[in-house]
């Protein structure tokens, strides 16, 4: 199947490839995660119980809480972190955190709602340097 290229704003971090885990929910590392177990722990979060480790996470936007700026760095240092995080629109905290952690992060997609453009299970390459996300081949239909 043909690759699909999604243009977004130039982001931060390295080019990475991995499996997408997608939700139209929002994200805070402080509010939503059990960072020791590497899973979503907030009962109200749509991904509660799911592992985020090594995933290309796709969210709508970021929620309050400045702690995420340190937490991405801390999570990456232990190897229990997402490989990349994509948003429709991100707040400064998550972008600052990705800059410190050298984690791939992009937002502002030209073709619309990224939580609908990418499905859970898709193999995705994120290239923040040029602002491009490629769906390498169609994954199984997403649950979220």
């Amino acid at each position: 199947m043909q690759n699909i290229e999604l243009v977004c704003h130039v982001g931060v971090g390295p080019t990475v490839t991995g499996e997408a885990l997608v939700t139209d929910d929002n994200f805070s590392a402080r509010y939503d995660l059990d960072r020791i177990a590497g899973i979503f722990s907030r009962p109200q979060h749509k991904l509660v119980g799911y592992s985020y480790v090594d995933k290309i996470m796709v969210f709508n936007t970021a929620k309050g809480g400045v702690a995420s700026a340190w937490m991405l760095h801390e999570m990456k240092s232990r190897g229990i972190a997402p490989r990349a995080i994509l948003f429709n629109n991100v707040n400064p905290i998550l972008a600052q955190g990705a800059a410190l952690a050298d984690m791939a992060m992009c937002d502002r997609f030209a073709d619309g709602d990224v939580t609908r453009l990418i499905k859970t299970g898709d193999q995705v390459t994120v290239n923040p340097g040029i602002g491009m996300v490629t769906i390498n081949h169609a994954g199984k239909a997403g649950k979220h």
Binding site: V10, N26, G65, V66, W70, E74, P92, A99
Partner: protein, 414 residues
């Protein structure tokens, strides 16, 4: 980004590695948000509790602290958000020696950089309230939304690394709330309900935050018919920032940038959404827990002002907590010193409650504290705390301060 000579020198490492890192970090962030240049800031405030820093973050700070004094000292007044440990009480809270030792290492590093350990998220009430138009690099979303909205200062949400970078260089990338065009209202709300307690103001903030839902949207609010004070604005702002990542709001006729609706928006192009008493009621009832045993009552997030400490003391006078319920009140070192001098701490603690100084509950290894103390049902008047603490394994109940205290005495959610 356009750099001046001094910024170029810092970026080239001519003023040491910490300032080179700081410039590089801020330029990554600035490019992300299309900043064209930097803006000088007058104060920085850093969120750096060790639960979020972790070993990796503390090592990062120690790396900067190990540089020469000329290289590592911050350039502008810089203060800290609450810590994760109150060294007088951490053993009673069953926090570990490892947590205390990590905390001490972080403090040593901050002090080596010349950062003042104010340990507070109510610096706008207690340390140095900003002035309208002042550009800042403040951490803690509650601090930022208050200073932007109530005081008319200019700050983005600055996470720890970016606050530190601003402190080291005296500047921050000019994007977001540093630009006037991003401070115009994009959402319009009308409040049609009575606000009787701090938790009501918090609930309104939570509702507005959830409906606004973005850092890049600015709500303007009409219809407030009671005059809010600093604590009301504190609870409302902290909840709005927590529920919606919102960094700025305008209250028509109250906050400085919105003397009239027309000042901040074109009313013909913004339809008002109404917040009613039933919206407020529904916000409270979603938390539940009535009749259940309450394990811990927490007043925190934001830290208590001196007036809140006085209210708490009055509610607890001649009362004793239920033996199976704890009550924690977190405040800033400045307020704690005054509260102690005025006898408020003694009155609060005579009930069996604990006053914690310089820390905030959710920034203090809340999951581990809950597990060690068997705390599950948590009651609070802080809407912000209810939004955060579920992810740490607690079941939160929201109520006003009076009912929280009565429940702590009864041992069950009233």
């Amino acid at each position: 980004m356009k750099l001046n000579a001094e910024e170029e020198a810092m970026l080239n490492g001519e003023q040491g590695e910490p300032r080179r890192w700081a410039m590089e970090h801020m330029m990554r962030v600035g490019r992300f948000f299309d900043a064209e240049d930097f803006v000088e800031v007058t104060q920085a405030h850093i969120m750096a509790d060790t639960e979020s820093l972790g070993e990796a973050g503390v090592k990062f700070l120690e790396g900067i602290a190990a540089c020469t004094p000329a290289e590592r000292q911050v350039r502008i007044p810089m203060i800290t958000d609450p810590r994760g440990i109150d060294f007088c009480h951490y053993q009673r809270l069953r926090q570990t020696e490892l947590m205390a030792s990590l905390e001490q290492r972080a403090i040593d590093a901050f002090e080596a950089m010349g950062i003042l350990m104010t340990n507070t998220c109510i610096n706008y009430q207690t340390i140095m309230p900003p002035v309208r138009g002042e550009h800042l690099a403040f951490g803690d979303t509650g601090v930022v939304i208050y200073c932007n909205s109530v005081l008319g200062a200019y700050s983005n949400f600055e996470g720890g690394p970016s606050s530190l970078a601003a402190g080291l260089t005296g500047r921050t990338p000019r994007y977001g709330l540093h630009l006037d065009q991003n401070r115009r209202a994009t959402r319009r709300f009308r409040v049609d309900c009575e606000l009787r307690s701090l938790s009501d103001w918090g609930a309104l903030g939570g509702i507005l935050g959830a409906r606004t839902g973005s850092y890049w949207e600015v709500p303007v609010i009409e219809g407030i018919d009671s005059q809010p004070g600093s604590d009301e604005m504190k609870h409302m702002g902290a909840a709005m920032a927590s529920f919606g990542s919102v960094p700025l709001f305008h209250l028509v006729g109250i906050t400085p940038e919105a003397p009239t609706l027309e000042t901040v928006c074109d009313p013909d192009n913004l339809v008002a959404e109404t917040i009613t008493a039933s919206d407020l009621d529904a916000f409270f009832t979603r938390y539940g827990g009535k009749g259940e045993k309450v394990d811990v009552v927490v007043f925190s997030a934001p830290q208590l002002s001196l007036l809140e400490m006085q209210s708490l003391a009055e509610l607890l006078d001649d009362k004793h907590l239920h033996p199976d319920t704890s009550l924690l009140a977190c405040t800033s070192p400045v307020v704690a010193a005054d509260a102690r001098r005025l006898g408020l701490v003694e009155r609060i603690e005579a009930s069996g409650a604990l006053v914690l100084e310089g820390m905030c509950f959710y920034q203090s290894y809340a999951r581990e504290m809950g597990e060690a103390n068997g705390w599950k049902r948590l009651m609070t008047n802080s809407v912000k705390l209810t939004n955060i603490i579920g992810g740490y394994g607690y079941e939160p109940t929201l109520s006003n301060m009076e009912n929280c205290v009565a429940s702590a005495i009864a041992g069950e959610v009233l």
